[in-house]
């Protein structure tokens, strides 16, 4: 190889095109701009109360989305998280009404893990498309959740012990937020720094290559679905504890799509093999800020959905554009 060729190849890595660089920073830039605009236009935005309130409300979404990032990176998709969230919430509530809150919490999360395993096994070993599997699972799980509640709202106002999980203040911040932070950090660490995380990128980036390189692609995808199910379970339990009530069909599918929107707006590829948990966190918060902004600025909330749709399309469009030119 001539010296000039060598130089040519060396340049490839160094000069990244502007678009690719923009993509790497990605969602951070619009997030910062939106944050600045809201701070300037609304005096009540950049207050501790408002910001903590946003985090508190978004804690469940953030946990589920962080775990969902793993599923997407590994080449899958999980649409059952909304239903699992709901089932875990009502399961925990059901058992908290009559028994030990700790057992109730464990059972709620356990239900999520179990459904995650089922999702993983069905999509990998039986080779059924993940989109269809988890959508079907979403109906099944939603039905089971309704069976548990018999269609009623389960109220836990007389069980303050269960509320301690999410409603305790620690360093002036609620435990719902602390639980979210710890969960997200753990999930981010799994993806970025463990062998399992690497295998997820490999499985999603090129499943056949990963398999031939000795990666157990099926096992790693089952793990990703299990983490996703467990996270949805935890989120359901936290929210039940946060509002001290639970109900089946608590906006099942809407939550699944909000989560997916957050992940994709953050810049994780829907095609698998690329993405990061921090991106998802920023993506989810970006969407939350839009909702918050509409309320604080007194804008017509009718437009909020339209705004969301446009932003989602922009995010996916930019990703596709960067892929083609980068």
């Amino acid at each position: 190889m001539s010296a000039a060729t060598t130089k040519l190849i060396a340049q490839r890595g160094l000069d990244t095109p502007a678009l690719a660089r923009l993509r790497r920073v990605g969602i951070l830039l619009p997030f910062a701009i939106l944050f600045a605009i809201l701070s300037l236009t609304s005096s009540s935005f950049a207050t501790k109360v408002n910001l903590l309130n946003i985090l508190d409300q978004q804690s469940a979404t953030l946990i589920i989305a962080a775990a969902g990032t793993l599923v997407l990176v590994a080449g899958g998709i999980d649409l059952s998280v909304g239903a699992v969230y709901s089932l875990a919430g009502v399961t925990a509530a059901h058992f908290a009404v009559h028994g030990n809150p700790a057992v109730a919490i464990a059972l709620g999360i356990g239900a999520g893990l179990l459904i995650g395993v089922a999702n993983g096994v069905i999509t990998t070993m039986f080779r059924i498309n993940a989109l269809i599997t988890t959508l079907a699972m979403s109906f099944i799980v939603g039905g089971i959740a309704t069976l548990v509640t018999k269609g009623n709202l389960l109220v836990l106002f007389d069980k303050p012990g269960f509320g301690k999980l999410a409603r305790t203040e620690f360093l002036t911040v609620r435990t719902s937020i602390w639980l979210m932070i710890v969960s997200v950090l753990v999930i981010a660490f799994v993806l970025s720094s463990t062998t399992a995380g690497r295998y997820m990128y490999a499985a999603g980036g090129n499943a056949e290559a990963a398999r031939l390189a000795g990666v157990r692609v099926n096992a790693i995808r089952i793990l990703a679905f299990t983490i996703s199910g467990g996270a949805a379970g935890l989120a359901g339990v936290i929210d039940t504890s946060r509002v001290l009530s639970a109900q089946a069909a608590n906006g099942d599918t809407a939550l699944a799509f909000t989560v997916l929107a957050g992940i994709v707006v953050g810049g994780t590829s829907i095609l698998g093999g690329e993405g990061a948990v921090w991106r998802t966190v920023v993506g989810v918060l970006f969407i939350a800020l839009i909702g918050n902004g509409y309320i604080l600025l007194g804008l017509d909330p009718l437009y909020e959905q339209i705004t969301m749709g446009v932003i989602l399309l922009l995010a996916v469009g930019l990703d596709a554009l960067a892929r083609r030119t980068g």
Binding site: T6, L8, R198, Y201, R216
Partner: protein, 512 residues
């Protein structure tokens, strides 16, 4: 191969296509740095160069697939700037890619007339389509049924579909990018025949090819590119294979192959295969000794890759046995094969080898990641150091190891795959087409790697469609045909003619 008599040409050849100072960069890579070329009407104009020299970019610019950053293109004296291959086709410029573009579900005739189907008021006219196809195929001299589903055709026939598509738009200029890379020897000969016929009918061909013999046989003029720049354009008659290689490399290549080290006859048997039956493999029985390079020859589709995949545990085995070393059984999955000391470099880097979006380091360490981690957490410093050492051993040059592996040249990508495989310290290595789509310099580096591995006692099964490579590297050759090992050649009888004879015997039945 004899040079055929030149067809009659117009008295004063004039440039049909002219590129003036055309440049294109992709990201930070200057693919073409101001190249000017004139292509005479009714000639075959070849473009050669190493991978990354810019020849494919040049072809894609001419065919309208990419737009140049600067420079002018004159077609028949008229400046043109195509915004899409479709626009180019409308102006009489067609293209044939290495991997043909066909819609697999549609018939051959529908593919040929895709987008310009005969229709009345939006309703397709089936009869008219069939008639038009029949007339076109006859005029081109192709014997290809218009009703066959394009997806069921072999690559060679799919290329014919592309050629017909170009002819149906009355293309005067056809760009062929590595048209024979995926073809067998016989299909290649057929394609050459087609090219000659097209040219004698006054059409102009731009031929981009790695195969220098093909270039010298077919073309009238050869343009050599290096690092996106023009080295020279000269009549093919004035060039030889070595003059072209020298021009492409900027230096001469001493010898194509390293010297062989013949393993001792009492070297231990590392891999023992008995009556192996698997999808695409009818029956295979052979032994592989330590330090031996065993060539596996045969036509595309003869079952070589299928055998490799079955040995590696990537495909199911129906019956028979594979024994690895004294310890016994082979693994039933790639993972187990790797831990038992059997590794494979797959046929396609892109589909089966590398994870393009991930870094060079991550791709290299993938198979050994577990040993580079403690308690499931990857030790990055250790990973980087281990990968770097092996990547440098494998001669991966000029690339940042943190860059995505997809940004590397084909040769470097292949070396990354070698690095990953060698980190597993295999005792048996199956290399399936290890130099496909790799430039000459990198080829030699891969040959050196294979030879030195064998010298170190590794048993190697080398699959290659380039006979030269098999003859130049292997100590012994097995020839496969229709899923069976039909010949074993060693020593004196290991000749090109013997291999081809065994590979092609009964070929008619195979085609039918």
């Amino acid at each position: 191969m004899a040079r055929i008599a030149e067809p009659p040409r117009p008295p004063a050849p004039r440039p049909y296509l002219e590129l003036l100072d055309v440049a294109k960069h992709f990201g930070g890579v200057q693919a073409l740095a101001g190249v000017s070329v004139a292509v005479e009407q009714g000639s075959v104009h070849a473009v050669v160069g190493e991978n990354g020299a810019g020849k494919s970019t040049l072809g894609r610019i001419v065919a309208g697939a990419v737009a140049p950053d600067r420079g002018r293109i004159l077609l028949d004296g008229v400046p043109v700037s195509f915004r899409s291959p479709r626009e180019a086709l409308e102006r009489g410029v067609g293209a044939i890619a290495q991997e043909p573009f066909v819609v697999p579900q549609l018939s051959v005739a529908e593919n040929v007339f895709l987008g310009v189907e005969p229709r009345s008021a939006g309703v397709l006219r089936g009869r008219k389509l069939r008639d038009a196809y029949a007339a076109l195929a006859e005029s081109a001299g192709f014997d290809l049924a218009g009703t066959a589903a394009a997806g069921s055709l072999r690559t060679a026939d799919q290329q014919k579909v592309e050629i017909l598509r170009a002819l149906s738009r009355d293309a005067h200029l056809i760009v062929m990018d590595e048209p024979t890379a995926a073809l067998s020897a016989r299909e290649t000969e057929q394609l050459h025949e087609i090219v000659r016929r097209l040219v004698s009918a006054g059409r102009t061909i731009v031929l981009i090819s790695h195969f220098l013999r093909e270039v010298l046989d077919l073309s009238d003029t050869v343009t050599v590119l290096r690092d996106g720049r023009l080295v020279r354009t000269a009549p093919a008659a004035a060039e030889t294979e070595s003059s072209l290689v020298e021009a492409m490399l900027g230096r001469s290549l001493t010898s194509a192959f390293p010297t062989k080290h013949v393993p001792p006859h009492d070297a231990p048997v590392l891999l023992s295969v008995r009556e192996l039956v698997a999808p695409g493999v009818e029956s295979a029985t052979f032994d592989l000794r330590a330090g031996e390079i065993l060539g596996l020859a045969g036509l595309v589709g003869a079952g070589r890759t299928e055998l490799a995949r079955a040995l590696y545990g990537a495909a199911k085995v129906t019956s028979g046995s594979v024994t690895l070393g004294e310890r016994g059984k082979r693994g039933r999955s790639p993972r187990r094969s790797l831990s038992a000391g059997l590794a494979m470099i797959p046929e396609s880097r892109k589909d089966e080898g590398l994870i393009f979006a991930r870094s060079v380091t991550e791709n290299a360490s993938l198979s050994r990641l577990r040993s580079l981690a403690s308690f499931g957490v990857v030790r990055r410093a250790r990973e980087r150091a281990t990968a770097r050492a092996m990547l440098e051993d494998c001669d991966v040059r000029g690339a940042r190891f943190s860059a995505p592996v997809g940004a590397l040249s084909g040769g470097n990508q292949q070396k990354v795959l070698f690095a990953r495989t060698l980190l597993c310290r295999p005792r048996v290595l199956i290399a399936d087409e290890p130099t496909r789509g790799v430039d000459i310099g990198a080829k030699r580096a891969i040959y050196d790697l294979l030879t030195s591995l064998a010298a170190g006692g590794v048993g190697i099964v080398l699959i290659s469609s380039e006979l030269e490579e098999i003859l130049g590297l292997a100590h012994r050759v097995l020839v496969m045909r229709r899923g069976r090992i039909v010949a074993e050649l060693e020593g004196e009888v290991m000749q090109e003619a013997a291999i081809l004879g065994a590979a092609f015997a009964d070929e008619k039945a195979a085609v039918a």
